[in-house]
């Protein structure tokens, strides 16, 4: 279906809750869909050496992300019976408590949407050249490490 169509996954700053609501609403006309699965990543208030994290600043090798995402997307549409898949990742500064990742998969039946969503979150963390720098209350910074 929309496996060939892709656009930048990047969103400058935090992803507003209203955008997520609007994106859900847009799918009401796609009546072959019976299930949506959504993952939202939120910036956590970690404590590093006694200092609270206040924000994460994201940077990326943007053109490489686009190239990799096109391949990953193709693979997902082959593996799962998806009606559509939308992915947004923040760039720039996202404050604690705000949304930095939005993965939204849709399918006729729940299993494809749920499994694709879960696998996509893992793939994003593992495969995409994106880096997060945690900014602490006292202005010190620590490069984030994914588990």
């Amino acid at each position: 279906m929309s496996s060939k169509k892709h656009h930048s996954i990047f969103y400058q700053g935090s992803i507003p809750a209203q955008k997520i609501a609007d994106d859900i609403q847009k799918h009401s006309t796609k009546t072959n869909i019976g299930a949506h699965s959504i993952f939202l990543g939120q910036v956590r208030e970690d404590v590093i050496d006694g200092e609270k994290v206040v924000a994460i600043e994201y940077t990326a090798y943007e053109s490489m992300v686009e190239e990799k995402m096109a391949i990953i997307r193709e693979h997902f549409f082959q593996k799962y019976a998806l009606s559509c898949m939308h992915i947004y990742h923040s760039l720039g500064t996202v404050a604690v408590g705000e949304i930095c990742l939005f993965v939204f998969t849709s399918s006729a039946h729940r299993r494809d949407a749920i499994d694709a969503c879960n696998e996509m979150v893992e793939t994003i963390k593992k495969e995409l050249p994106i880096w997060g720098k945690e900014i602490c209350n006292n202005q010190t910074t620590v490069w984030k490490q994914n588990n």
């Binding site: 090798y61 990742h89 994003i124 050249p129 994106i130 490069w143 994914n146």
Partner: protein, 77 residues
């Protein structure tokens, strides 16, 4: 034209720039020798290379205009 060298994430704490134009060299091993010579602190860093946006794990020949990126482990999401 030479080689475009890109730095990302914590690597930029050492290089203080995101990109450099580098004099042409024959392969990535030769390039990295020069880069490490200029930024000795990189020797203690964990990173991998991408040649024209493809991750490489061993020495690769270079041609004029190629782009080599130094990427520390990813931490998106």
């Amino acid at each position: 034209m030479g080689i475009q060298v890109l730095f990302f994430g914590s690597i930029t704490d050492i290089t203080l720039v995101a990109a450099l134009s580098w004099e042409y060299c024959a392969d990535t091993d030769t390039l990295m020798k020069g880069v490490l010579n200029r930024f000795p602190a990189l020797a203690n860093k964990k990173y991998f290379l991408a040649l024209n946006q493809q991750v490489i794990h061993e020495n690769a020949p270079l041609k004029q205009g190629d782009t080599v990126a130094l990427m520390p482990p990813f931490s998106g999401g």
